[in-house]
Symmetry: C2
Subunit: 265 residues, 2 copies
Amino acid sequence: MPRTSEPGRTVSSRLLELLFSFRPGRSALSLADLVRETGLPHATARRLLLELQKAGAIEKRDDGRFTIGLRLWQLSTLAPRTESLRALAQPFMDDLYTALRQHVQLAVLDDDHAVIIERRSAPHAVELVSQVGGRLPLHCSGVGKVLLSHSDPDYIDRILGGQLPRFTPHTNSDPSSLRREIAASRTTGTATVRGELTVGADSVASRIMDGDGRVVAALSVVVQSGSVELQAAIPSVIASGLGISRALGWTPGTPIRRGSSLAGH
Amino acid sequence: MPRTSEPGRTVSSRLLELLFSFRPGRSALSLADLVRETGLPHATARRLLLELQKAGAIEKRDDGRFTIGLRLWQLSTLAPRTESLRALAQPFMDDLYTALRQHVQLAVLDDDHAVIIERRSAPHAVELVSQVGGRLPLHCSGVGKVLLSHSDPDYIDRILGGQLPRFTPHTNSDPSSLRREIAASRTTGTATVRGELTVGADSVASRIMDGDGRVVAALSVVVQSGSVELQAAIPSVIASGLGISRALGWTPGTPIRRGSSLAGH
DNA sequence: ACGGGCTGGTCGTTCAATGAATATCGTCTT
DNA sequence: AAGACGATATTCATTGAACGACCAGCCCGT
């Protein structure tokens, strides 16, 4: 007797679950991998994967493993808040990188995390945890604090009231202390972290506004602890952030608004 | 009595059809737009769109229109032949751009087209038809000719035997003439086009090899007709292409193979 | 007030989706 | 060589999830 599956699971949900099984570090998955990941029966997974493949959403490599397809990548270039922002920000990031020779990151808010949408990487600088497309926690990353501090109060409450995992001994996981930091970040438009996410990595971030004054992104520089005086990097990050904001149509007179946090969940 | 729909159309196909309705220039679609585009009934389209939204594949803007979601963009960063290739190629493209101050494009082969996966754009250079994520025809673009010439003979036959649309009076749509060009391109590793795709735009392209000697991409420079002597740009494009190839693990001794054309269809 | 275009929601019918079972292939192990 | 294993393919009777006609608001411009 078939129909063993839990009800409420739609075809679409299974299809999307298969798609989103691909993660950084697990970007080439075999049928068996996907079955393990999703818990779907072989036959079901295979059928759905063939449909995904036919549409070009995924591709099958010579070794039988599946990878994300180029058609899906093309689709993703249509995502707002990435391609246009990236294109505008690139020259500024190049300049900032040239000036400092340190990691430069651009991130936006999504679903309780800061998502890195562009980076300039120094080959021999600190090793970083995440790559383009990766996610950073809001409470202990430079870009995260900046983005969080310019969100809705409700959203801030939810984040600070939830899990605040500690990544290093320096991670600040105290809600009231964080709340003070957030308040300060909202007035200055910047935030700094010292070894809170990765031991030996410090970061300074600054906000980026669109033409309506909404904080839509954050720009940061990550340096090895002690290699560069972080304070000295702040003005350049602020200036570059303002430059990108200007390119987005923002002018110094425009009042700065909280970003529409697109609250996840 | 429902069930009017043509049989053979699966849920998955409808879901993917909705997703792939998003195109450059049509990147924010309302429910009604998507219904028109796909021919699905309102209710069906809405149900599927809600599932896509729940999974984060698409997002709903304040005005009710749907756009590609950030989660989907994150997924796409896992696509092979894009992110890794882009990251490696970027410095070389920067250098080439600095040297020439002209459009620089990086493209790979997919489904009968050359797909642009990265670009450096000169603000005041020729207006180009396509953007990052866009597609170029194989028979009348620089990158297209290079990629085509390093494909399987069967694939070349299929392309040259199919439709060869003419975009300008200079478009070469004669199969036998194109075959000679392709053969030449295969020996030199480069190709030039003069106003074949866009009037007033000339282009020169060079191949890029991976560690196994497979031609996996093509690099091109696009200039306004007459503004720069195209011949003069060729050496720099070749050198940059070789630089990227070296970064991919290729060494001059490695024999050059036809790329695995991932034949569409 | 009215029509047209849009989004949001309901519900009985039915066919596409399901997954246990089986086949097949390649690769180790004994 | 035989057997065990893990993987990818393929089949098919059963059934509940997907379907879409229909209806209800809502916001326009007229």
